[in-house]
């Protein structure tokens, strides 16, 4: 049972169990998959899980091939890897799609230290925009008349649709969520704990980032 001792040891250090980290990560993955805009990163969770996986893989190598545990642990690792890969890919897809607004907002967020992207995601986004700009220049703009050669970044921007409708479940009772009505009369609704709703993303965006609701 060497595997467990090591695992428990690393748990104590971080003062949270691997189980909770995994649950948080799975929740983050689910929300990221379903929200129209990019959410604050959960890099700590990802790093922690990757560490756990490494531990586990090292321990599996010590077990004999015929040991029942080998296949069970391998299966679990594959499941966790799937969540991590899918989570990171989903974020990259959003970064590529909405790179320009994300970068603009991220610059302000970095100043207040509330960044949504991890440093490497930020670098990726910057390089992506730069590559796009260079590509546009090389392929089209440089061959245009002089007065048309400016790359107008903000005209290229694609924005996430924050007015799209999403399904959600309230993790706790939230009173007075304001839904904007087109007639100008705002409607307030209460979300009871455990209740499920479909409504516009915008009014609940902050609740989602605070973990008060989960997308379904």
């Amino acid at each position: 049972m060497e595997s467990t001792e090591e695992l428990q040891f690393s748990d104590d250090e971080e003062e949270v169990t691997a189980e909770t980290v995994l649950k948080t990560l799975q929740c983050a993955w689910q929300n990221e998959r379903l929200s129209p805009e990019i959410l604050p990163h959960q890099n700590d969770m990802v790093e922690c899980m990757l560490g756990q996986i490494q531990h586990m893989e090292r321990n599996i190598n010590k077990l004999s091939k015929t040991d029942l545990r080998t296949s069970i642990h391998k299966m679990e690792i594959s499941r966790i890897k799937f969540i991590i890969c899918n989570y990171l890919k989903t974020r990259l897809n959003k970064i590529e799609k909405y790179c320009i607004p994300i970068l603009n907002q991220e610059r302000q967020r970095i100043e207040t230290d509330t960044n949504y992207l991890t440093p490497s995601e930020y670098k990726y986004a910057q390089e992506y925009v730069l590559n796009m700009e260079n590509h546009m220049k090389n392929v089209v703009l440089n061959k245009m008349p002089g007065n048309m050669q400016v790359f107008e970044m903000n005209k290229m921007a694609e924005h996430p649709n924050l007015q799209t409708h999403v399904f959600l479940k309230a993790n706790e009772t939230i009173n007075g969520v304001v839904l904007e009505d087109l007639t100008g009369e705002d409607e307030e609704i209460d979300l009871e704990e455990g209740s499920q709703h479909i409504l516009q993303y915008k009014p609940i965006a902050d609740l989602l980032k605070n973990g008060k609701v989960t997308l379904l």
Binding site: R33, I72, H165, L179, L182, T183, Q196, L199, L216
Partner: protein, 197 residues
């Protein structure tokens, strides 16, 4: 999300099995399970149960609700109620599909159970379609959907949010061009009451 992703999430539910082998506790990242004693029931995640079943190392103990009588009651209740009733389990369809798919011989009356679950699903889906229709007709931008399971929500996902998005877009256009022409003056109160809870 894709249906297989919902299934993936549902696979984390805990169910009971009777192993036919003996083993100490197994310490997984998602928790510790066991000890396994041949013939004694033990709780494991669904994915592990299915995996052990495929290796013929256990029998699955069907969940309490996977019983003809219980399900008949649920079905009657679902038929009687105007609203969605609470399902015994928020991933009932995933659980039923996986258990009946790979461990049908462990479930008494498996074929009947399959039929009843399918009936319940059909009743709920037709209710869902009716509510969606009502929601759209009242021009609603908000609906409450208590007791719907993830798989059920997912099945209307390409359609309902997109329809509501388009409706909103049309309303915004109408408002911009002709502010006096108001298609829906009581959007929320109407949709709130017509939508099943």
């Amino acid at each position: 999300m894709e249906p297989y992703e919902i299934e993936f999430i549902g696979e984390n539910r805990i169910i009971s099995i009777t192993p036919n082998f003996t083993h100490d506790k197994i310490y997984l990242i998602c928790g510790e399970f066991g000890p396994f004693r041949a013939g004694l029931p033990v709780n494991v995640p669904l994915w592990l149960a299915i995996m052990l079943k495929q290796k013929q190392k256990c029998h699955v103990i069907p969940p309490d609700w996977m019983d003809v009588e219980v399900l008949e009651n649920i079905k009657e209740e679902e038929k009687r109620s105007r609203f969605f009733t609470k399902m015994p389990n928020e991933h009932y369809m995933v659980e039923a599909k996986l258990i009946l798919g790979s461990a049908a011989e462990d479930v008494p009356n498996a074929p009947e159970i399959k039929t009843i679950i399918k009936d319940i699903w059909d009743i709920r889906m037709s209710k869902l379609r009716t509510s969606m229709d009502a929601l759209m007709k009242t021009g609603g931008g908000y609906g409450r959907l208590d007791h719907l399971t993830m798989m059920e929500i997912n099945s209307v996902k390409p359609l309902l949010p997109a329809a509501m998005d388009n409706l909103l877009r049309m309303q915004m256009k109408t408002k911009k061009t002709a502010p006096s022409l108001n298609l829906n003056s009581s959007t929320f109160s109407q949709s709130g009451s017509s939508q099943n809870t």
